[in-house]
Every structure is written in C-alpha cells, then in structure tokens.
Symmetry: C2
DNA sequence: CTAGATTTATTGAAGGTTCAATGAAGCAGG
DNA sequence: CCTGCTTCATTGAACCTTCAATAAATCTAG
C-alpha cells in the first residue's frame, strides 16, 4: 500500500472522475436493454453467458461466481431465481461432494438468444464504436492491470 | 446505434472482460475501506465529497445526483439517511421553489475526514500506482469519451 | 392569463445484494 | 481414525436501489 501524497492532482482527479463515472453508470445503461429484451439484470446475464461458454454448459458455483465478478452468496440467490424460471439447473458435483454444478438449460439458451444481439450492439455503441483498434487494446491492457490489483 | 458484426472478436472480448471486471469489482473494493473507516457506502461518500467541493458546501439535489452518477430517487433516499445522521441538511432553494438544496454539516465534514485518507490511499493502490503518467492520462481520456456516450 | 406540459423532489413497495450464521464435505496432522 | 481446519454452498435478515406514483412549482403556447 502506497503511503505518500495525500490527495490526487488535477490530472489524476480528472482520470478518476471519468473512471468512476463509467464504473457507476455502465451497469445501469446495460440493464435497460437486458430488462427490455429478456427480463434479465446484468449479473443474471453474466451467469447465463458464463455457462454458455463452459464445457457442457456446466460450471461449479464458486468458479462461476468468480467469473461473473460476484460473491458466492450473490450467485446462490440469483441461481435460485434462474432455476425457478427453468433457465439453469443445479446438481451435485460427482467429484467433490461440497461443490454444486450449474448447467444452462435449453430455455436458458433461448433467453440468452433474446438478450445477446441487443447487448452486443449496445456494448459496441457505448464502448467500441468510440475507440480505434489501438485505443481498444490499450484500454484492455490498462483495465486488465487494474483488475489484477483489485482481485489481489 | 451500430448495426454490424454480431459478436466481439478475441481482442475486443479480452478488453470487454477486463473493463467489466473493473466495473463490477471496484465499488465493492472501495466500500470495504469506507465501511470500516467511516461507516459509509461509496455513494454516500460521493455525496459528501460532492458537497464539500461545492460553493458553500451546498448543491441542488438533482445536480448532486448527476455529479454522483446516481438517480435522483437514489439520492433522495440516501439524503434522508445522511440527514438523519446529521451529516447533511436540506432546505428549500430560494431561487426556485421546486428545488431542494443540500449542505454538508460540520459533522459531515468530520465523517469525511475519517474516510478520505484511507480512500485516497486505496485509490492510489488500486489504480494510480499501477500506471505511469502517460498511461494514467490515456486511461482518463478513453474513460471520458466512453462516459460521454453512456451519459448521452 | 391559464391549461397543459415539464422540471424537481419525495415516497412506498418490490426486488436485489450484502453480511453473518450455518452446515456439509474434504483435508491434514498426530 | 478422529479432531480441527478449510472449502463450498445455502439461507434469512438487514439494507439499499429501482420503479412507478404522487405532488408542487415553473414554464409555455395560445
């Protein structure tokens, strides 16, 4: 932990305000579309996408929670809702009796299909259409390095 | 709204995952410190900081909500809590009968003083210590442009 | 001038997230 | 083995945010 200069200078403050602005506003912007097109919030969408990209559409709860950048408790509550809607199913892990596996159902895949096209369009519209290829890669690299610190 | 290519290529996806990771995890990381040091969540902290930087420590509710990247309804609920703790006070705007002004109290300033040093340290630790000056400015510029799209 | 539209703010209800507690399953050392 | 420690997951309560409804003040078009 750094232990120096008390506050941020002008350039740092400008950067921080822009970053925190994106952090605070992006989820809400994404959720408008997801709610309208597929009645999902952003975290629910991440869960379904995470499963879709996994082997056999199946993943351990705790791995899924990490992938989706949420707590296990949060995922557990969300999984109950998604399961009650038939979008995922849960079952005991054969290899480790402590673990639960979650799997995307056909209905879950259909729901995802309703959300995804509009979601991608929106992501392009909000982020990628604004950046050229160099800027996009630079943004990714910087975000990746900051993310590594947050996760540590 | 762009209306092209259906999904993100590999580099775009890597960028998106890093960006969304920061977006999802940063608030939680900040709140641990704020809760510990000053029993505030991040939005409450933003409200107090916003007022501290304003003329006469006073700002219209709707301007404050925009500055803090939240809805007016959210601010209204939070303002009730902060006011009941004596950290801010609210009063009618003399110029426009529809508006309410919020002002930071002495107690609010003290509470902020408990939170701020640790908050700045954490922000430096998570973000600015990772970036050199060029990278910091680049990040700020890119975030600013993306934020402009989100706000529009 | 005034009727309707807009801006500003608050409120209650519904829904989602966090936090702490609980418990089951596996692991590690004696 | 069996005791304590760790991992994995769920749960309920408390808390926070969102959404829709409400209402007051201001603006605007005719």
């Amino acid at each position: 932990m750094s232990d120096e200069a008390p506050w941020l200078d002008e350039a740092e403050m400008a950067t921080w305000l822009a970053l925190i602005g994106v952090v605070m506003r992006l989820p809400g912007a994404l959720e408008v579309q997801l709610r309208r097109d597929a009645d999902l919030n952003h975290f629910e969408y991440c869960v379904l996408v995470g499963l879709e990209h996994a082997e056999d559409d199946t993943m351990r709860m705790s791995d899924l929670a990490f992938l989706c950048n949420g707590s296990l408790s949060r995922l557990s509550h969300v999984a109950r809702r998604l399961e009650s809607e038939g979008l995922i199913e849960r079952f005991a892990c054969p290899d480790d009796g402590r673990s639960t596996l979650a799997r995307l159902t056909a209905a879950g895949r259909e729901r995802l299909a309703k959300a995804a096209p509009g979601h991608v369009k929106l992501v392009r519209n909000l982020v990628f259409d604004e950046l050229d290829d160099d800027e996009m890669r630079q943004m990714g690299e910087l975000a990746k390095r900051v993310l590594a610190r947050i996760q540590a």
